[in-house]
């Protein structure tokens, strides 16, 4: 699946998007896999309460299943307007 990062999540991880091969069942499982990769991922995902997630461009939750999902995006709370 494609994993996208925005705002300070993008800056901490150092890239805007990447292709990730995973068998993670839920968003939380995917986060655990990413955290285990490198310090920059662990730093970006240190506090999930400071993050939001979208699945296929719809806001979702960290306990949501990833079955059939093609695009996952992680970002801080939005500041539009």
């Amino acid at each position: 699946m494609d994993v996208l990062y925005f705002a300070w999540v993008r800056e901490r991880i150092g890239l805007p998007r990447e292709r990730v091969e995973t068998t993670a069942a839920t968003v939380a499982d995917l986060v655990e896999e990413l955290r285990a990769r490198e310090d920059r991922y662990a730093a970006a995902f240190a506090d999930l309460s400071a993050l939001r997630v979208a699945l296929d461009q719809e806001l979702s939750e960290f306990d949501a299943p990833l079955d059939g999902v093609r695009e996952v995006a992680f970002f801080p709370p939005m500041t539009g307007g």
Partner: protein, 148 residues
């Protein structure tokens, strides 16, 4: 209903006139415009607005459709810019048209409350001296959604 996510500046007067010309029998037109203000500590050089292409348009469309269904609106318009903006530049505008002003005012407030917290934009303040800070979301913005 029109949603525009764009880097280019927009003309407030021209957009308002075009919006007004497109509606029939609306006794009330409300517009709101957001402008880049200085940082709390001063010294703002620029504001950079990042967004999530694709999701941004979908989220704004869903928010505007919800406003159209909740209030008796003749039309609604949302324009939101992204990219690098200077202090004083216009960031975004919403416009609503209705037979009566209550619907137009309330729907415009609803649009603003939702697009602040539910449309995927992120603001970064670039300060003189070169430092930069991501603007943090406020609890009051999230609380503002509860009244709807």
């Amino acid at each position: 209903m029109r949603i525009s996510v764009q880097e280019a500046p927009f003309e407030l007067g021209a957009e308002s006139d075009a919006f007004a010309a497109g509606v029939n029998n609306a006794g009330a037109l409300v517009t709101f415009t957001g402008v880049v203000r200085d940082a709390d500590q001063g010294g703002l050089q620029a504001m950079e607005i990042e967004h999530y292409p694709g999701m941004t348009e979908k989220a704004l469309t869903a928010i505007a459709e919800e406003a159209m269904s909740r209030w008796s609106l003749a039309d609604a318009l949302v324009i939101h810019r992204h990219g690098r903006l200077a202090p004083g530049e216009r960031i975004m505008m919403v416009a609503t048209a209705a037979r009566h002003r209550k619907d137009a005012f309330e729907a415009a407030e609803y649009l603003m409350d939702y697009l602040k917290s539910r449309a995927p934009f992120w603001k970064k303040e670039i300060l003189s001296g070169g430092s930069a800070d991501w603007v943090a979301a406020k609890d009051t913005d999230e609380d503002a959604l509860k009244r709807w």
